[in-house]
């Protein structure tokens, strides 16, 4: 049989080979046959034994079968692989479909007749590809959504460092449903977040709107300004949903409104500062009115300055100041009564000093503008002044009582009121002593005058300090008046010690009359003295009135200098006052008196009016000395006014012998120069 037989068997099987395969098989059969034939030939040639030939043929058969078997196994294996593949594919497909929850588009034909395996496989592969693809897509979708969710979560839980790895995907469920769920979650989260933001924005807006309203209220903002922000403030009560205006919850808009609030708050701060300053001023006014010193609180000052920077709470400061104001008002109330009394006391003191001034005014009895008013005032003032001591006492005791009760000193503009009262009392006492002393002096003077009268039968001639220069150099122009007509030396001046005396030269005060155009106006002088009513005022403010000849009172101490010779004769006889000094002592006393003495004496005057008036004129001349020159003396001693006695008599009788030195006045510079010389000479 052999191979050929085998082959024929194969051929004879049911398997249908296609023609080419049949041809091949046939060819193989042919070739095998030819090869076998060849083999036989060779064997024949060789002379192979049959056993050997059998063995080789068997071998040949075996080998051939081996090969065939191998091929069959291969094919088997192939078939198995295919089956496996198909099974895998089917499984995979099923899985995917189950996961995805859907079937492939190209539905697997449910062909009862199994086609070949390769067909099957071929059929399933695209499906599976498709599903794989869809699965990937789906997965991506999931990933997207889950990423989003993760982002949102990250945003919410910002600092938590949440998972940065991929979100977990449930492979088992990739269904649309699941995807939809995820998407829904995501949307939900988003919504929540947005709602949260909206809520924040809304809350901010509310907050800002509230602030706006508060500030407008506080500062009375005009309605036009408020209108701009109307839409914000009217929505105050609305919830987020109700805010329908576009962009109202946008960051920009909120910032815009916030800016307005800031602006208003700055305004408020500055106004607060104003308010605080106003209150502070109020406090100061109240303190001033009640004569309390408002203690300068430097801490408060710096606090006020810091208001604008916001470092200091203006409202708190305001409160502090209000408290202080309340306290001071209370204090003021308790001080009220005493302060009223103090006002009264001070008014009385003013009247007192006015009265003193008034009493010094010699012209006060002149009829003139306001004289009667002044008289009335003086009367009232006197009454008031009499009440003063009692007033002071009452006030002092009240103050003391107050101090005891309150436990603190009663201050008036920073000074203890009791000290003020004390000083005043002391001053008054001193003045009183002074006045008494002057009164005593005057009395003494009166007595001496009386003595003098008894002695000489007339009043002594006026004392006057003069520049006595015996040489004629004096008589340059002005001095001519002083030429002694009778050759007698002129004057007595009271002896003084230290101070330079402002020796008055005989003169009339009137500027007009003082002016001598020529030397021979001496005669005219008296007349002009009479007639010229005007007098240059050298006292600011006091009106000067013409002295009526009848008036005897000298305004200021004057030495009645007798310019005119007593005898109505020679005009050149402007003798020095026939002033005879009564006595040196008397003059001395005069000079020591620092008060204004009433001029006692013109009554014994019998001379004709013109002389009186000239005497009056002369009365005005400045007179004696003994006054500390730098300070303005309140009064100057008044020398006695003396009657003009027949000149020669008096003059010869009474002229004292005084050294010239005593009468010489010196300026400050001369004295200083002397001192310098003295020093120098030493």
């Amino acid at each position: 049989m052999g191979i050929n037989g085998f082959l024929v068997q194969v051929l004879a099987t049911n398997r249908v080979f296609n023609p080419s395969q049949s041809n091949l098989l046939l060819r193989m059969e042919k070739i095998c046959g030819s090869l076998l034939y060849e083999l036989q030939i060779i064997w024949d040639e060789i002379g192979e034994s049959d056993a050997e030939r059998d063995r080789m043929l068997l071998e040949l058969e075996q080998e051939c079968l081996e090969i065939y078997r191998r091929k069959v196994d291969q094919a088997n294996r192939c078939r198995a692989q295919l089956k496996q593949a198909i099974a895998d594919a089917e499984a995979e497909l099923a899985a995917i479909c189950s996961a995805m929850g859907e079937l492939p588009v190209h539905i697997r034909q449910s062909d009862p007749n199994p086609e070949s395996l390769k067909d099957e496989l071929r059929a399933i592969l695209p499906q599976i590809e498709e599903m794989r693809k869809r699965r990937i897509d789906r997965k991506n979708q999931f990933i997207e959504v889950l990423d989003e969710i993760r982002n949102i979560e990250n945003e919410i839980y910002r600092s938590d460092g949440f998972a940065s790895n991929d979100p977990a995907i449930d492979e088992a469920d990739l269904s649309i449903k699941s995807l939809k769920n995820c998407a829904e979650n995501c949307r939900h989260s988003k919504r929540k977040v947005r709602a949260f933001y909206d809520y924040c924005s809304h809350w901010q807006l509310q907050d800002v709107a509230t602030s706006l309203l508060e500030l407008w209220n506080l500062m009375d903002t005009p309605i036009e300004e408020q209108q701009i922000f109307q839409k914000v403030t009217c929505k105050l009560a609305a919830s987020e949903d109700e805010i329908t205006e576009p962009d109202m919850l946008s960051v920009d808009y909120i910032d815009y409104v916030k800016a307005e609030v800031s602006r208003l708050e700055e305004l408020k701060a500055s106004k607060m500062k104003e308010l605080v300053l106003k209150k502070k001023a109020e406090l100061e006014v109240i303190c001033r009115k009640t004569h309390l010193i408002s203690d300068k609180d430097s801490a408060m000052e710096t606090a006020i300055d810091a208001i604008e920077s916001g470092a200091v709470d203006a409202a708190c400061l305001l409160e502090q100041i209000e408290l202080r104001i309340a306290r001071v008002k209370e204090e003021a109330l308790s001080r009220k009564e005493i302060l009223e009394k103090v006002e009264k006391w001070m008014a009385a003191c003013e009247e007192e000093s006015w009265l003193e001034e008034y009493n010094r005014d010699d012209n006060r009895y002149n009829a003139g503008r306001g004289a009667h008013l002044a008289l009335k005032r003086a009367e009232k003032a006197r009454a008031l002044v009499n009440k003063l001591p009692a007033m002071v006492d009452t006030l002092a005791s009240k103050v003391l009582a107050w101090e005891n009760e309150e436990g603190i000193e009663f201050t008036y503009d920073g000074v203890r009121l009791l000290s003020m009262l004390e000083s005043y009392t002391v001053l008054r006492q001193q003045k009183e002593i002074e006045r008494k002393r002057q009164r005593d002096q005057k009395k003494l003077q009166g007595q001496l005058l009386a003595e003098q009268e008894a002695l000489y039968g007339s009043k002594p001639s006026p004392v006057k300090n003069q520049n006595v220069k015996k040489d004629s150099r004096l008589s340059c122009g002005g001095a001519s008046k002083r030429k002694l007509s009778l050759g007698a030396p002129i004057l007595q001046t009271p002896k003084r010690d230290m101070l330079p005396s402002a020796k008055a030269t005989p003169n009339t005060r009137k500027a007009k009359t003082n002016v001598r155009i020529n030397q021979d106006r001496l005669k005219d002088d008296g007349l002009s003295a009479l007639s010229s009513g005007r007098r240059v005022s050298d006292k600011a403010g006091l009106p000067m009135k013409q002295q009526s000849p009848i008036l005897v009172k000298a305004r200021e101490p004057e030495s009645p200098m007798l310019r005119r010779p007593f005898t109505p004769i020679s005009t050149t006889n402007l003798s020095k006052p026939n002033a005879s000094n009564i006595s040196e002592d008397l003059n001395k006393k005069h000079n020591e008196m620092l008060h204004k003495a009433v001029i006692i004496n013109n009554t014994p005057f019998t001379p004709p009016p013109k002389i009186i008036s000239s005497a009056d004129e002369e009365n005005r001349t400045p007179q004696t000395t003994a006054i500390t020159l730098p300070s303005t003396p309140s009064t100057v001693s008044v020398p006695m006014q003396t009657a003009i006695t027949p000149a020669p008599l008096i003059q010869t009788a009474i002229i004292p012998a005084l050294s010239v030195e005593d009468e010489i006045e010196y300026s400050f510079e001369e004295r200083r120069a002397d001192l310098c010389c003295l020093d120098h000479n030493q």
Binding site: N467, L474, V515, R516, R534, P622, L629, F668, A673, C676
Partner: protein, 314 residues
Amino acid sequence: MTAAPPPSTGRELSNPPTDGISNLRFSNHSDHLLVSSWDKSVRLYDASANALRGEFMHGGAVLDCCFHDDSSGFSASADHTVRRLVFNYNREDILGRHDAPVRCIEYSYATGQVITGSWDKTLKCWDPRGASAQERSLVGTYAQPERVYSMSLVGNRLVVATAGRHVNVYDLRNMSQPEQRRESSLKYQTRCVRCYPNGTGYALSSVEGRVAMEFFDLSEAGQSKNYGTFATGGCDGYVNVWDGNNKKRLYQYAKYPTSVAALSFSRDGRLLAVASSYTYEEGDKPHEPDAIFVRSVNEVEVKPKPKMLPNPAT
């Protein structure tokens, strides 16, 4: 210079004299200040720069000084001399002498002469031009009733105040005799006399502390007067500015350490120099150091206030 504002008394000049100040004057041409002193010196200051520009020593206390122009001046000394001082060359020469200390000195631009008043009871006029020999510079000697205490010039008029309260008014063109012989209308010793810049009269002050306003022309005396404002300095240490019309004080500057010995306004009225220097009004006693203050003058301090109606009650 610090940025601190000057004290209320004004800026104190450096290098003041070492003894009392008898007078100080601003120049008519600049802010130079000439100061005469009892320390026997005359000093020239640049008040704006606060610098001492020159110093001239004398044989005795210098009682007065005045400018000729910005380059020279004159001095009156207790050593009886009248000197001319040339600033730039720091040279001086003696113009003449009196028989007693020379108390006052003025230079008259109108006549070109120097006029001096002395305690020897004379006025002397000197011609400073050219002549170096003393004899040739003396133009005239005019006797006064008493020792000359103060003098002032305006235009062609010279007012001389002496002891004994005499006041002589001269016309410089005719010095043979006074144009007017007057007496002070104040009771006390004359301290100072100054003519009004408008030439209508003079102000006269006494040691009592009063000031009298006088007119040259008596017919004007009765008319409405324009006294203008003027400043006075007293031994109380105060400088007051007065409104002569209203007879009111306009302003009082802060108190100076001691007596105000002299005052001078600068040529433009912008500055006021104050000599704070004890004037021996109370004899020899310890006193504050002598100082010169230069302060600026504000218009508000010296402008007269509108006249107020008199109050009948006062």
